[in-house]
Amino acid sequence: MSSTFLGITTIGYLLCMTLCFCCVFFKSKKLGRIVTALVVIVAVVHTAGLGLRWWESYQMGHGRVPLTNLYEALIGLSWTTVLLYLYIELRYKTRALGVLLLPIISVSMAYASLSPTVSSTIDPLIPALQSNWLTYHVITCFIGYSAFAVSCCTAFVYLFKVRGKAAHDENGALFPSLDRLDEITYRMTAIGFLMLSLGIITGAVWANYAWGSYWSWDPKETWSLITWFVYAAVLHARITRGWRGRRMAILSIIGFACVLFTFLGVNYLLSGLHSYA
């Protein structure tokens, strides 16, 4: 049942993405409103899908948060990203950011649903994962990752806009102004940094309860620390040195590359405590 919902969600996001491309290509404001409405509907289906999966796990007698394997992680991450995307639309009155965010969301949903290496079964949890800290840890990390994804997208838009400015400016009107983009990039980086810290800390508290050690230099832990170092450097460059605009955008993109490696690269290329997620 939940897989049907999530399948519809995947198709829905792909449709939203296509419409969003059309919207930017034809510069149609009306289409933009349709895209937003559609994203809201698909997000509701998405939420229902996640909720159902949770309920199904109780039906199977496992009773656990649907955030414990790669399939659920990708779906959960798409979910936090889409919520953040809708928030930004509302807060900054801009629709065009979907051009970059919707593909990320769609690809991660499609990868979760279609990849043969990603198992979608609801497996029971091993004892180490049976803890409320699992929920806090995963959700805070995901909000952080999503915020970094948004900051990376606005950074890309910023760079495109700066390059395109010399040639023609009319395309730019759809996107927020450069100052706005810079501000969103910074704000999202700051939120992401706070949530990443919270995620690392909840992970440490949990590890201390489960294994008796709050930090053990496991590859995932280490990579989250690397990401933390990189964003700490980015934020210091911005706050203390006043780096803005192009340099800030490039740094945000580098930061997000670290996030991607922490989230996916570590699981595929390195092994450790987080091998189950």
């Binding site: 004892p127 706070l194 309860y209 170092f229």
Partner: protein
């Protein structure tokens, strides 16, 4: 003079952001290497991945234990020094701002601020001042009023404490680092306990020896349950009792994610295993003479049971998983697998020996006639489990959590709160009144400017109606 210059240079270097950024990137790069090179792996593994030459580099640079290497810890220490210097450098300024300044800026200082606008009121009276106060209150908050001759200054300040954000975040990182250093005063180890057993020392994880405890821990029982179908463990839990100076202090059932804590020492449920020494519970079916149905009893190895309805007591003296006889005809276990399980069963009637016999689960009739009036079969054997406990003492963990809390509060303040100050300076002269509005925010300048222009618009409107 030269020494003073030199120390100034060193100080400038130590407080420079450039150094911070450099160290952050060096630490990040070191961490990347630490995840690519497997940590504390056997030599053969390194040769397999990186070759002989790679192994030489790894050994020369201590990459096999990068995070424990002197150079990584030295870099961390240098980073801490950089943090301490930056914090010390900025603390006096933060302190001054936090204490607040009693002297109000004059009009020329105000003119130099990032947001400043002047409005000239031709007829300025008390009512006018009240209107201005009201507008200022509604946009920025209620002001304090200071009069000096013909001049009146309205002053609003919000979020002065938000200047603490810097101090909190940076102290937090130092606290966490201090906590991790203090952690070296503790220990980490392992303890294996069979049901009913107790111990007062642990084996240290780095295999450097044992660590005595000043109390004893007893495992009362251990249980493990499995998920149906998959056979994966669902939960395992041990009941532990702490005994100190002969008296039981506390008993707790621990499970994964729920440790026992006593005197700052944590006992974590970590693993479990089955007994290799032949301890467990044997299940028998016993057929009495003249009975139509057999009775089922179970006996723990080393204990006994009375057969219900009789005066006969059955003792299980020993259990052997893989029974064999050595050259002296002594029984021993060839392996730990249940290949030829055998039980030494002894029976007494009213305290008088009845029989003693080895019983074999795989060869039930081997000694069929040696068990007196009874026909006895082994139906099942449940081995005893041992519980594997991770034991840790970390005196620095409190510092780490305090640091984490500081960090989160500090970050929230640093990112989402700002220190705003707005002055409205009204100076009467012969042409009326010159009202200077000025303000500044240390962060979030765009929303501040928005609010500031709202205030200026309202004052301009006020001027028209006045």
């Amino acid at each position: 003079m030269a020494t003073k210059n030199f120390s100034t240079l060193v100080w400038r270097f130590l407080i420079s952001l450039r150094l911070t950024l450099f160290l952050l990137l060096i630490l990040a790069a070191a961490c990347i290497i630490g995840t690519i090179v497997p940590q504390k792996a056997p030599q053969a593994e390194y040769i397999g991945i990186f070759g002989e030459a790679g192994l030489r580099i790894i050994e020369a640079c201590l990459l096999y234990d990068l995070f424990g290497s002197w150079w990584f810890q030295a870099t961390m220490a240098f980073f801490a020094l950089n943090l301490i210097c930056c914090t010390l450098h900025r603390t006096p300024r933060i302190w001054r701002v936090l204490r607040g300044s009693s002297v109000q800026p004059n009009s020329s200082t105000l003119a130099g601020m990032s947001c400043c606008q002047t409005v000239r009121f031709e007829n300025f009276d008390n009512a006018c001042e009240q209107h201005i106060t009201r507008e200022l209150s509604s946009v920025f908050g209620s002001p304090s009023i200071q009069r000096q001759g013909e001049a009146t200054t309205l002053f609003v300040e919000k979020g002065r404490w938000s200047r603490l954000g810097f101090w909190l975040t940076h102290t937090a990182v130092l606290l966490i680092m201090a906590g991790s250093v203090l952690g070296h005063l503790g220990f980490k180890g392992f303890m294996q306990l069979y049901e009913g057993d107790q111990a007062d020392a642990i084996v240290l994880s780095d295999r450097s020896g044992t660590q005595p405890l000043d109390f004893t821990v007893r495992c009362n029982s251990f249980e493990v349950s499995f998920y149906e179908n998959t056979g994966r463990p669902q939960a395992y839990l041990s009941s532990l009792t702490v005994i100190e100076k002969g008296s039981e202090i506390l008993t707790k059932e621990i499970r994964v994610n729920d440790p026992l804590i006593y005197k700052g020492i944590y006992f974590y449920q970590s693993t479990y295993g089955t007994d290799s020494k032949g301890r467990g519970t044997v299940h028998f079916s016993i057929m009495s003479p003249n009975a139509t149905e057999s009775q089922r009893v179970h006996v723990k190895v080393g204990s006994s049971v009375m057969l219900p309805g009789t005066q006969d007591e059955f003792f299980v003296d020993s259990f052997i998983a893989d029974f064999a006889l050595d050259e002296h005809n002594h029984p021993f276990s060839r392996s730990q697998n249940l290949n030829n399980p055998a039980v030494l069963l002894r029976a007494q009637r009213d305290g008088e020996p009845l029989f003693t016999s080895w019983l074999f689960a795989r060869h039930q009739d081997f000694h069929g006639d040696q068990t007196g009036p009874y026909q006895i079969r082994i139906t099942n054997f449940e081995p005893s489990y041992f519980t594997g406990l991770q034991v840790a003492k970390d005196p620095g963990v409190g510092f780490v959590w305090a640091g984490c809390a500081f960090l989160l509060i500090g970050m929230y303040i640093a990112f989402f709160c700002s220190h705003r100050r707005v002055w409205v300076h009204c100076e009467q002269n012969q042409d009326g009144c010159l009202v200077t509005v000025a303000g500044e925010a240390n962060k979030h300048k765009i929303p501040f400017k928005k609010d500031f222009s709202i205030l200026c618009e309202r004052l301009a409107k006020l001027k028209e109606t006045a």
